[in-house]
C-alpha cells in the first residue's frame, strides 16, 4: 500500500470534514445580522457545543499537510501568506466574540455580535480566496485574483447554504421559515459559484482542461456535474417540506465539489509544481503518524458523533429541548 497516497487521502478527508463542519457554523455567523435578537440566541445555541471541535479539523488538516508534505506546507502557506493571515484574524475574532457576546451587555454586546459576523465573513471569504489561488497554482495577474475573489464569494454562499439548512434541521417556526429563505438564497449563490468555477478552472489551468476535456472520458466524468445539479434541485424542492433533507443535500453538494477538485488536482499537491510524492516527508514520520491516525481517527469520529447525538433535536430559547 502506498503510504503517501493513504496520507494524502486522510488529509483530504480532514479538510473536507473541516469545510462541512466549520462551514455550517461559519455560515450561521454570516447570517446573524439577518435575524432578530431572539433568533440570534437560538442560532448561536445550535452551534455552541460544536464549534471548538469543528475548528479543530482545520488544525488537523494543516497539521497533516505539515507532517506529510512539509515542503508543500511551506510553499502553499508562503504563497497564501496574506489571505491566511486574514483568515486567522477572522477566526480569532469570531471565536472570541462567540464567547464574549453572551457575557457583555448594551453596546458591548452589539460590538461582539458585529465582530462575530465580521470575523465569520472574513474567514469564509479568505478561505475561498485561498482555494481560488490554490487551484490556479498561485498565478500572478488581475484575472487570477478576480477569479479567486469569485471563489471567495461562492464559498461564502456555500457556507450560508450549510448554515441555513443546519438551522432548518435544528429550529422550528418562524426562524425555520426564515432559514428556508436564506437557504434558497445560498443555493443560488452556490449554483452561480459552482458554474463559474467549473468553467473558470479549465480556462485558467491547462492541466485541469486536459484532465476534464478528454473524450470519451469526459462523458463518464459528466456524472459529477450532473449529480451536483440534480442534488441542487432536490435541495430546492425539499426546502420547506423536510427538516433534514436540505442539510443532507447541501453536504452532498460539498462532497461532490470536493471530489471534482480532487480529481482536477491529483496527483499534485501544489498545482503543476509538486506531486504528493515529491513533497512527501520521510517514511519514518509518515508511519509514526499514520499508525496514530488509524487508531485515533475512529475514536475522534466516534466522540464527535456522540456529541452531535447528545445535542440532537430542536433548540429552544437557548436551551436544548429533550
Amino acid at each position: 500500500m502506498d503510504l503517501v497516497l493513504v496520507f494524502a487521502a486522510l488529509m483530504g478527508f480532514a479538510i473536507l470534514l473541516y469545510v462541512l463542519l466549520d462551514g455550517y457554523d461559519l455560515g450561521i455567523g454570516m447570517l446573524m445580522p439577518a435575524a432578530e435578537r431572539k433568533e440570534q440566541e437560538l442560532m448561536v445555541a445550535s452551534i455552541a457545543p460544536f464549534w471548538d471541535a469543528n475548528e479543530t479539523w482545520l488544525v488537523l488538516g494543516i497539521g497533516l499537510l505539515l507532517v506529510g508534505f512539509p515542503v508543500a506546507h511551506g510553499e502553499i502557506l508562503g504563497a497564501l501568506y496574506l489571505p491566511v493571515a486574514a483568515m486567522l484574524v477572522g477566526l480569532m475574532l469570531r471565536g472570541v466574540a462567540f464567547e464574549l457576546r453572551v457575557k457583555a451587555e448594551g453596546w458591548h454586546r452589539e460590538l461582539w455580535n458585529w465582530l462575530f459576523w465580521a470575523g465569520s465573513t472574513l474567514a469564509s471569504f479568505a478561505q475561498g480566496l485561498m482555494l481560488g489561488r490554490y487551484v490556479t497554482g498561485f498565478e500572478a495577474g488581475l484575472g487570477y485574483w478576480l477569479f479567486a475573489a469569485v471563489v471567495g464569494a461562492s464559498l461564502c454562499g456555500g457556507y450560508v447554504l450549510l448554515g441555513a439548512t443546519w438551522l432548518v434541521l435544528r429550529t422550528r417556526g418562524e426562524l425555520q421559515e426564515k432559514a428556508v429563505r436564506w437557504a434558497r438564497w445560498g443555493l443560488m449563490w452556490v449554483a452561480l459559484g459552482v458554474a463559474l468555477v467549473s468553467l473558470g478552472t479549465p480556462l485558467a489551468s491547462e492541466t485541469v482542461r486536459s484532465r476534464w476535456f478528454d473524450f470519451p472520458r469526459t462523458l463518464g466524468l459528466m456524472v459529477l456535474p450532473a449529480a451536483t445539479v440534480a442534488i441542487g434541485l432536490w435541495v430546492w424542492l425539499t426546502l420547506g417540506k423536510s427538516d433534514s433533507k436540505p442539510f443532507a443535500g447541501a453536504v452532498a453538494i460539498f462532497v461532490l465539489a470536493f471530489m471534482g477538485l480532487a480529481y482536477s488536482l491529483f496527483p499534485y499537491v501544489v498545482m503543476d509544481k509538486l506531486t504528493i510524492w515529491d513533497a512527501a516527508a520521510d517514511d519514518s514520520a509518515l508511519r509514526f503518524v499514520g499508525v496514530g491516525l488509524v487508531f485515533v481517527l475512529p475514536f475522534i469520529l466516534a466522540w464527535q458523533i456522540y456529541s452531535h447525538r447528545v445535542f440532537r433535536g430542536k433548540v429552544h430559547q437557548g436551551i436544548y429541548e429533550r
Binding site: P49, E55, G63, G78, A85, M92, V289, Q304
Partner: protein, 431 residues
C-alpha cells in the same frame, strides 16, 4: 540582500514570539484550571451541595472563555511553522511534525469535543457521564502539554535522531520524546500552570469579595486558591532547581548567561543584580552573594562553574539575566503572598489582602512568560541546539508582508487580551 534578510529574521522572530507568547497565556491557565473545575464538579457529585454546583458553573464559564482564546490562538500557531520558519520544517519537520500531529490527535480533539458536553450537556447526560467529560477535558489539556513540551524539550536537548540527507529523521521515538530535559520541563510547566490557575481562582474570588463581602462561595474559592498556591509554589522551587541542574549539564552556556558569569571560576558568586556590559563582557554595579552560584549549581561552596568565555555560541546575556530574575522574583512574591495570607484567611480577610490577591490575578502569566523567555532566548543562537541556527530557518516572506501581518496580529492580540481580562474581572464582580 543581507539587510533584507536580517529584517525578515527580526520580524519573523518578533511575530512568532508574539503569537506563541499570546497563545501560551491561555493553556497556562486552562491546564491547571481544568483539573480545578473537574474537582469542583466531582465535589458536587459527591456532596450534592448546591453551593458547589454554583461554584462549578461560575468557573466553567471562566474556563470556556480561556479555552476559546487558546483554541483560536493555537490555530494561528499551526500555520506559522510553515509560513515563518520553512527552514525549520525542511530540516527537522520529520520530528517536529509528528509530535505536533499527535498533540492534535490525542489531545486537542479530546478537549474540544468533550468541552461541548461539559459546557452544555448537564441536562442531557447522566451525572456520571458529565463528571467523566470534565475529567476527560482536564486529561486532554495535560496530554496536550505533554506533546508540546516534548517538542520544545527536543529542540533544547535533541536526542534519538539521525541524519538522512539534508534532513533529520527519528531513530527512536522513545528517545526523541523522553529526551534529557523533557521530564524536568514538563513538571516545571505543569506546576507553573497549577500555580497560575490557583492565582486566577484566588484573584477573581478576591475581585468578587471586593464587590460583595458576604459571598461565601467566593471566600471558599479564595481560600482554596491560596492554599493550592501555598503547596505548589515550594514544589515549583524544588523542581525548578532540578531543572536548573539539568540545564547546567546539557546547556551550560544558558546557565552562565542567566547568572551573568563571564569567566570560569571556583566558588562563583551569585549575582543578584547588575548592569550587564555585553560589549566588554563584564558586570557593573553588581550585588553578589559570595560563592552563591557554586552553592546553588554545584551544591558545594567551591564548585567550578563554567563562564561565558568558554562558549563560542552563546545567548545574549542581558535579556536572559533580566528575564530569569523576573521569574524568580515573581515566584518569591507569590510564595510570600500564598504563605503570608494563610493566617488572615482563616477569618474574614481584610480589604488590603483582597486587593493584593486581586492584583496578583495574572501573576502566574508574568512568571511563566519570563521563564519561557529565559529558556527560549537561552537556546540562541540555535533554534534546535547544535542542529539548526535560528537564522537558517527563516522564511522568504518579505519585510513588507511580515510588517502588515505583524501589525494585524499585534492589534488583534492587544484588543482580545484586554477584552479577556476586563470581561473576567467584570464577570467576577457581578458574581
Amino acid at each position: 540582500m543581507e539587510e533584507a534578510l536580517t529584517e525578515a529574521l527580526v520580524l519573523s522572530r518578533v511575530q512568532f514570539g508574539l503569537n506563541i507568547g499570546f497563545h501560551i497565556l491561555f493553556p497556562t491557565i486552562t491546564i491547571g484550571l481544568a483539573w480545578i473545575v473537574a474537582g469542583f464538579r466531582i465535589r458536587y457529585e459527591m456532596t450534592r451541595d448546591e453551593a458547589w454546583l454554583r461554584t462549578y458553573k461560575l468557573w466553567v464559564k471562566v474556563f470556556a472563555l480561556t479555552f476559546a482564546m487558546g483554541v483560536v490562538s493555537g490555530v494561528t500557531m499551526s500555520f506559522q511553522f510553515g509560513t515563518n520558519w520553512p527552514g525549520y520544517m525542511n530540516r527537522v519537520g520529520n520530528i517536529a511534525g509528528p509530535l505536533l500531529a499527535y498533540e492534535v490527535l490525542t489531545a486537542f480533539f479530546l478537549e474540544a469535543t468533550f468541552l461541548g458536553v461539559m459546557l452544555f450537556g448537564m441536562q442531557r447526560v447522566s451525572g456520571r457521564v458529565h463528571v467523566a467529560s470534565s475529567v476527560i477535558v482536564a486529561f486532554g489539556t495535560t496530554v496536550s502539554a505533554f506533546w508540546i513540551l516534548a517538542l520544545n524539550s527536543w529542540m533544547q536537548t535533541p536526542a534519538g535522531h539521525t541524519q538522512l540527507g539534508g534532513a533529520l529523521v527519528a531513530e527512536s521515538w522513545w528517545r526523541v520524546i523522553f529526551n534529557p530535559s523533557f521530564p524536568y520541563r514538563l513538571a516545571h510547566m505543569l506546576l507553573a500552570s497549577g500555580i497560575t490557575a490557583a492565582f486566577v481562582v484566588a484573584g477573581l474570588s478576591a475581585w468578587r469579595l471586593l464587590a460583595a463581602r458576604s459571598d461565601g462561595a467566593a471566600l471558599k474559592t479564595l481560600r482554596f486558591g491560596a492554599r493550592l498556591a501555598a503547596v505548589l509554589v515550594p514544589l515549583q522551587i524544588f523542581v525548578g532547581d532540578l531543572h536548573g541542574l539539568n540545564t547546567l549539564e546539557h546547556q551550560p552556556a544558558k546557565i552562565a548567561a542567566m547568572e551573568a558569569l563571564w569567566h570560569t571560576e571556583r566558588g562563583a558568586p551569585l549575582v543578584l543584580f547588575a548592569l550587564i556590559d555585553e560589549e566588554h563582557g563584564r558586570n557593573r554595579f553588581a550585588i553578589e552573594v559570595p560563592k552563591g552560584a557554586s552553592l546553588i549549581l554545584k551544591h558545594s561552596l567551591d564548585g567550578e562553574v563554567k563562564g561565558l568565555s568558554e562558549f563560542a555560541d552563546r545567548p545574549p546575556v542581558a535579556p536572559l539575566f533580566l528575564a530569569f530574575r523576573v521569574m524568580v522574583g515573581m515566584g518569591v512574591l507569590m510564595l510570600i503572598l500564598a504563605w503570608g495570607s494563610q493566617f488572615w484567611l482563616k477569618a474574614s480577610p481584610p480589604r488590603w489582602l483582597l486587593w493584593a490577591f486581586a492584583g496578583f490575578t495574572f501573576a502566574g502569566w508574568v512568571a511563566t512568560l519570563a521563564g519561557w523567555l529565559t529558556t527560549e532566548i537561552g537556546r540562541q543562537p540555535w533554534l534546535v541546539t547544535g542542529i539548526l541556527r535560528t537564522a537558517d530557518a527563516v522564511g522568504p516572506a518579505s519585510g513588507a508582508k511580515l510588517g502588515a501581518s505583524l501589525t494585524a496580529y499585534a492589534v488583534t492580540y492587544a484588543a482580545l487580551l484586554l477584552a479577556y481580562m476586563v470581561t473576567l474581572t467584570h464577570m467576577s464582580r457581578r458574581g
